[in-house]
Amino acid sequence: MKKILLLIIISLLWSTTLFAAGTQYDLRVDGLACPFCAYGIEKKLTKTEGVDSIAFDLEKGLVIVKVKEGMTLSEAQLKLLVEDSGFTMRSMTEKPII
């Protein structure tokens, strides 16, 4: 029974990775007080290869970046991008888009 469960979990993880339509990066960004100021991040991300969509949740200090399948962004790359926009990236989480 345990083996079957393990097999199911592995299969699910494998299928998620295989059939992922891209990757979503949730960036926790500090300093986002106004929408107008946040435009710098949008502008910089738009110019980044592979970025599909960008969304902001200013109340939570979140920048949600979706990238196309097969493309990845590194934490260092995103941190520099946010810094060049005049803000501070505190953390980042990454998950596949199913």
């Binding site: 300093g31 200013l58 005049g86």
Partner: protein, 266 residues
């Protein structure tokens, strides 16, 4: 003659003090904002000031560039229209801002910026002030999702004008508070209401080492203002009303100064 000279000096000073604003900076005061790296800002502004019978209108075209996320360079081309009849491009201004300190938190940013602006003598005497001037300043800003606070100090070194008039230097102090009554989401129109207290102290001018009686003094202004933004577009407007005027001699007190600014970040 001296009276006319002092009025001309005052007018040019008023024009020169205006300008160099970034959205989510105060309308009249100096704020700490800088552009994002490689960002381009285009800015169209309209100023009008009236002191006694002397009314001046100025429009300006400005371009700014983000050298880094903390360093912005700016060029400003003003176009003046004075009651006296002089119309055309005035002295070009070049400015830079460097943000030397920043503290970011969830939905808030505190920062401080150093500022430098130079106005070389590029226009004809009737449209400019026939002198090279420059300004040094420091600005502090606290910006949150709801509240804004700014403070700035500037010192303007005035060059010698036509006819050996040694124009008095000027101190400028700004204290500003702003509020966003309803926090807006990204891509939604955003409104911030402001109230500024702007102080100006000008030293007396001199002509051939003789102090001009009708020059220098102190003025304080109360200035309600508004900034409206939508994504990368901003409109700012405000009016300065003189609340304290202690000008030397027989100078005209400022009646009002108004500003309207349009700004795009590209």
């Amino acid at each position: 003659m001296k009276f006319i000279q002092s009025r001309l000096i005052t007018t040019v000073c008023l024009i020169f003090v205006s300008g160099v604003v970034l959205a989510h900076d105060p309308v009249f005061g100096l704020g700490p904002h800088t552009l994002f790296k490689d960002g381009i800002e285009t800015h169209v502004g309209f100023d009008q000031s009236k002191a006694g019978d002397n009314k001046v209108m100025e429009s300006s075209l400005e371009m700014a560039y983000g050298l880094t996320g903390n360093w912005t360079a700016r060029v400003e081309i003003p176009y003046v229209d004075r009651d006296a009849g002089a119309t055309g491009i005035s002295d070009i201004r070049i400015a830079t801002k460097y943000r030397f300190w920043r503290r970011d938190g969830l939905g808030l940013q505190e920062s401080s910026t150093a500022f430098f602006k130079i106005k070389p003598d590029t226009a004809s005497n009737d449209r400019g002030n026939s002198a090279a001037d420059f300004i040094l300043g420091v600005a502090y800003g606290y910006e949150s999702r709801k509240w804004y606070r700014w403070a700035s100090v500037r010192y303007r070194f005035n060059g010698e004008a036509l006819g050996n008039v040694d124009r008095g230097d000027k101190y400028l102090i700004d204290l500003v508070s702003g509020i966003r009554f309803k926090p807006s989401a990204y891509n939604e129109p955003d409104w911030v209401w402001m109230l500024e207290l702007n102080g100006e102290k000008t030293k007396e001018s001199q002509l051939n080492a003789t102090t001009l009686a009708n020059s220098g003094g102190t003025e304080w202004f109360l200035s309600p203002g508004l900034m409206w933004t939508l994504r990368n577009f901003a409109i700012k407007t405000g009016v300065q009303f003189s609340v304290v005027s202690n000008l030397n001699g027989t100078q005209d007190e400022s009646d009002y100064r108004a500003k309207l600014e349009f700004e795009w970040h590209l």
